[in-house]
Amino acid sequence: MRKVFAPVCAVTGLMFVCAPFLIARAPYESTMGLVQKIFYFHVPSWFAMFTAIGICGVASLIHLFRTSAKADRISEAAAEIAVVFGMMGLVTGPLWGRKAWGVWWQWDAKLTIALLLEMTFISSVLVRKYGGPGSDKLASAVGIFGLAVVPFVYEAVNIWRTIHPLTSVVPNLPATMGLPFWFSVAAYMMLLLTFLMLRVNLGKRQAALDELYLAYED
């Protein structure tokens, strides 16, 4: 893992340095102008959050039904990372909305469910930290519940009437906007991988420390 980590970290850093240059060269959107460029960091942060939730959900299922320490560590790491990416989405979104809609926040279906999803994973992290014995199983159940909420967040704009742009925006992007967008998505996926490797390694070391404490007590 150490052999892979350094190149992954270097590529992630390089991509995040290159991304703003590609975004700066992308054309302006006709109605929103300059502020629409927040899109290139806002949407990929949600994609990264959904991916982290997917990893957390699958690992949680494995841990719940097979009690695997490795799956539990991955689930714990992915839940924490989902909170970080969710925070990025929840901060960059209102900065975009303030200019595009004239308000920082709107209690419509999309935004409200997205906030609830973030709070679900914050609760998962808190359960693990303060839940005591057995909290890993409870946090795994919360992770699976969070995974079930993701389709509602994504499809909310197509189900309910909201002021948020529709999901059809991304597949219909022109090439000049699509290139920087998908490059940013790739950069975020690399950042997710970096975070995951770091956080899983921390979990491993914490497990080793717990074993050492047990050996010391015996």
């Binding site: 927040i38 990025m88 975070f195 921390l202």
Partner: protein, 89 residues
């Protein structure tokens, strides 16, 4: 003589009251005229919002890596301390 005094008094009065009239605020707006677009000077600038959004992403990512690094150091310190105690038992 009295005419001269009267002229001086009148001139003094006019000169002393003129600045008071000159300092009056402009007349209040009598009607509102609608326009289709917000004047350019009143529009919310996009650049600070864009910069704030990108800066937040960078700061959040750096902060998260720093918290992992800090937790890792704490775990390693505890492991070293415990490893030193174990062989003596």
């Amino acid at each position: 003589m009295s005419l001269r005094r009267l002229l001086i008094a009148l001139t003094t009065f006019v000169m002393s009251t003129a600045p008071a009239f000159a300092l009056q605020p402009p007349a209040g707006q009598s009607e509102f005229v609608p326009v289709d677009a917000v004047p350019l000077a009143d529009q919310l600038p996009a650049a600070p919002l864009l910069i704030a959004a990108y800066a937040f992403v960078w700061i959040a990512a750096t902060f998260y890596i720093w918290t992992i690094w800090r937790r890792m150091n704490k775990v390693e310190d505890e492991m070293r301390a415990l490893a030193q105690k174990l062989p003596h038992r």
